[in-house]
């Protein structure tokens, strides 16, 4: 006869049912979606990043160049120009993280008005229509990519009022590159104003004490 106690160990009350025939070996990865519609926070205003501020580009194709900041674009990038005729930096978007903002500013009233109309769309890469392979093989000569006219016009529009007002020294300055040389310590160099902890009382003369009349 069957030992009821023995049977109790292996006999489950409920039947184990397989839900699916096929189970994947790894868990499926779900794409991350925000549960709450959290708004993208606007980028904090950088200290001294004012329209007309001269910035030093720290990285990228134009590293070391001194460049004029025009305005912040809604994408969070900075709109910036050389000006092109001075140092070869075109109207461009740049990440503010790679801009060393200096204290010197240039008056760009007229240019700022022009710049106000520009948006991220103007700077965005234009998607090329993909040609089939055969067409590429038969294409006669390499067609050089030309700058669209609207970009050239925009460059002159914005640069002209800036360059007109530039003094010779300032032109020289913008045309020059920022480099570190022997003896230059970047942690000791000042680009923005210096915060000095001076105790003014030690420089002021002691106040004359009035003698009390008895």
């Amino acid at each position: 006869g069957i030992n009821a106690e023995y049977m109790g160990l292996y006999f489950f009350e409920e039947e184990m049912v397989k839900k699916f025939k096929w189970y994947p070996t790894e868990d499926e990865k779900k794409p991350f979606t925000r549960k709450s519609k959290a708004k993208k926070k606007p980028i904090k205003a950088r200290k001294g990043l004012v329209p007309g501020a001269v910035c030093i580009v720290l990285s990228g194709r134009f590293k070391g160049r001194r460049v004029v900041f025009l305005k912040m674009l809604p994408s969070g990038l900075a709109m910036v120009t050389g000006p092109y005729k001075v140092n070869g930096v075109p109207l461009r978007r740049m990440n503010t993280a790679y801009l060393l903002v200096t204290k010197t500013t240039i008056s760009i009233d007229a240019a700022a008005k022009e710049a106000a109309s520009f948006d991220d769309k103007f700077f965005a890469k234009v998607k090329e229509v993909k040609k089939p392979e055969e067409e590429k093989l038969f294409a006669e000569g390499a067609q050089a990519k030309k700058l669209p006219e609207n970009k050239k016009d925009a460059q002159t529009k914005i640069d002209k009022p800036i360059v007109e007002k530039l003094e010779k020294v300032m032109k020289q300055y913008l045309a020059s590159r920022f480099t570190l040389r022997n003896g230059m310590k970047p942690h000791e160099m000042i680009f923005q104003s210096l915060i000095q902890n001076i105790n003014p009382s030690s420089f002021l003369p002691l106040k004359k004490k009035k003698k009390k009349k008895k």
């Binding site: 000042i190 030690s202 420089f203």
Partner: protein, 197 residues
């Protein structure tokens, strides 16, 4: 044995009233007056209108200057203040080479990027003119620089002085570069022609 201060060979002594320059610490770059001597390592120092609080300072952090202010030993801050103003210490310090150097170093350290660029341009212009004169004096041919135009916009001497020196720039004499003659040769940065008579 009697010996006077003058026989010792030292010229600057650690004494009450001696003006000292602080080399190290929070107050570095400032001058102060020695109020009292504690031992061979430390002094009591005070600088009422000089930006130095009354404090004990190590002699290792200090450099003695030529100035002595008449003040009794252990003088209080107010006594030192009147003595400093009577002596005209701040003005006298500003007229010394040492004081000037300190001031220009302080100015240079606070320069903006654009100001640093301007100083560099001025240095270049000055050195070009100086080297030209030296070359002419030594009889060497002067290389013609294509990039330097005669109408280069030079900043006014006042601007130059404000950026590089605290005192006005004076013409430099290069007598040591010429052969010993009875004539005095003086070259200023502005003057161009140099003729041996």
């Amino acid at each position: 044995i009697n010996f006077s201060k003058g026989q010792m060979g030292f010229k600057r002594f650690v004494e009450a009233g001696r003006v000292a320059y602080i080399n190290f610490g929070e107050d570095h770059g400032k001058i102060c007056v020695i109020a009292d001597v504690i031992n061979n390592n430390r002094v009591l120092v005070d600088g009422p209108t000089l930006g130095v609080a009354r404090q004990v300072i190590s002699l290792r952090r200090i450099a003695l200057t030529d100035f002595v202010v008449k003040v009794p030993k252990g003088a209080k801050t107010r006594t030192i203040q009147t003595a400093i103003s009577e002596f005209g210490l701040i003005k006298k310090w500003g007229e010394t080479k040492w004081g000037n150097k300190v001031a220009t170093h302080a100015k240079r350290s606070k320069l903006n990027d654009f100001e640093r660029f301007q100083v560099m341009v001025l240095k270049r212009q000055k050195s070009y003119l100086v080297n030209k004169e030296v070359a002419q004096a030594s009889g060497k041919k002067v290389h013609k620089k294509k990039t330097v135009k005669k109408e280069t916009k030079q900043l006014k001497p006042s601007a130059i002085s404000s950026l590089t020196h605290t005192h006005t720039y004076q013409p430099v004499s290069y007598t040591h570069l010429t052969l010993p003659t009875s004539d005095l040769v003086q070259i200023s940065v502005v003057a161009v022609s140099l003729k041996k008579k």
